[in-house]
């Protein structure tokens, strides 16, 4: 199992933070450009799916799987979007994202007076904690050597 990368967007679609663990190919565009496309894609899928889906989608967790990877979207009721790309076998990603939200974002950004919520995250403590939590998760640990 492998964890590829993580995008965090705020409610206005601004990229707050980006981190990657396994990424073999870069997109060849700027991070801003790439983030804009990622957010736009999620936004479009979400609004389309909401229109056609017969069931209530307000649970806040959504994934889709291609034959090569899985995209996991965890959206809080406050509309923060955590988008984590993994391989198709990764387990427990919803729990992992919940943990990132509660134990990393809330503790180190929300409670830190020197971090503004509407600005991209620069806190080193946040990045370090995020890395720690991801690397401790089974989805990361059990990746083949």
């Amino acid at each position: 199992m492998t964890i590829y990368n993580l995008y965090l967007f705020d409610r206005d679609g601004q990229l707050l933070h980006y981190a990657e663990w396994t990424r073999n190919k870069q997109s060849g565009m700027t991070r801003e450009e790439e983030a804009k496309l990622m957010y736009g894609m999620i936004f479009s899928i979400k609004s389309f799916v909401t229109k056609v889906s017969p069931v209530d989608l307000r649970e806040g967790y959504l994934t889709y799987t291609t034959n090569k990877y899985r995209l996991n979207l965890y959206e809080t009721p406050s509309r923060l979007k955590f988008i984590l790309n993994t391989d198709v076998h990764a387990q427990g990603i919803k729990e992992l994202l919940h943990q990132i939200y509660t134990q990393v974002y809330v503790e180190y950004i929300v409670c830190n007076p020197l971090c503004q919520l509407s600005k991209p995250i620069e806190s080193e403590l946040y990045a370090a904690k995020l890395d720690e939590v991801v690397k401790q998760s089974p989805a990361y640990a059990s990746r083949p050597a």
Binding site: R11, D12, K36, G40, G60, T76, S78, T102, V106, C111
Partner: protein
Amino acid sequence: MSRQSMRANDPKKVSGELFTLTYGSLVAQLLKDYENVDDVNRQLERMGYNIGMRLIEDFLARANPGRCYDLRDTADKIQQAFKLYLGVSPSIGSWSPGGDEFSVVLETNPMAEFVELPDHCLGLRYSNILAGVIRGACEMVQLEVMAWFIADQLKGDNVTEIRVKFVKRLEDAIPAGED
């Protein structure tokens, strides 16, 4: 950073006195910095709004309350949050006939434990920060509300009462370049 040094008894709690006195000191500072009490009231509301925006994230993370489907849900959650964060249980009531307005009623107000309003600040809404917190927190979950004090024990009322009125639902932001 190590977190082992947290308090042995309950790591998630602090002394109510420290809280009340710190808030009191902040209000005193604002009264010093601004010339009239209306500005102080506004600034307190503003600060509450900022706190609400952050507090809601903690509330969602900790209480995992799920989404609200109507205003009664929201009122319940506000009640729950008062208990969780300030250790008091307000009652919810006085619903408007249309169901778009309700009151949060506090028997004791933890913000104002040691406070007596001096005569020259009668216009001060001492606990106005709470109204701001409610507005800020609701806005983050796509609810625009108004919140204001209609009774205050510091002014001789029997209870402290905050009125909350639903304004509208907010929609998701559309990404740049889409329509």
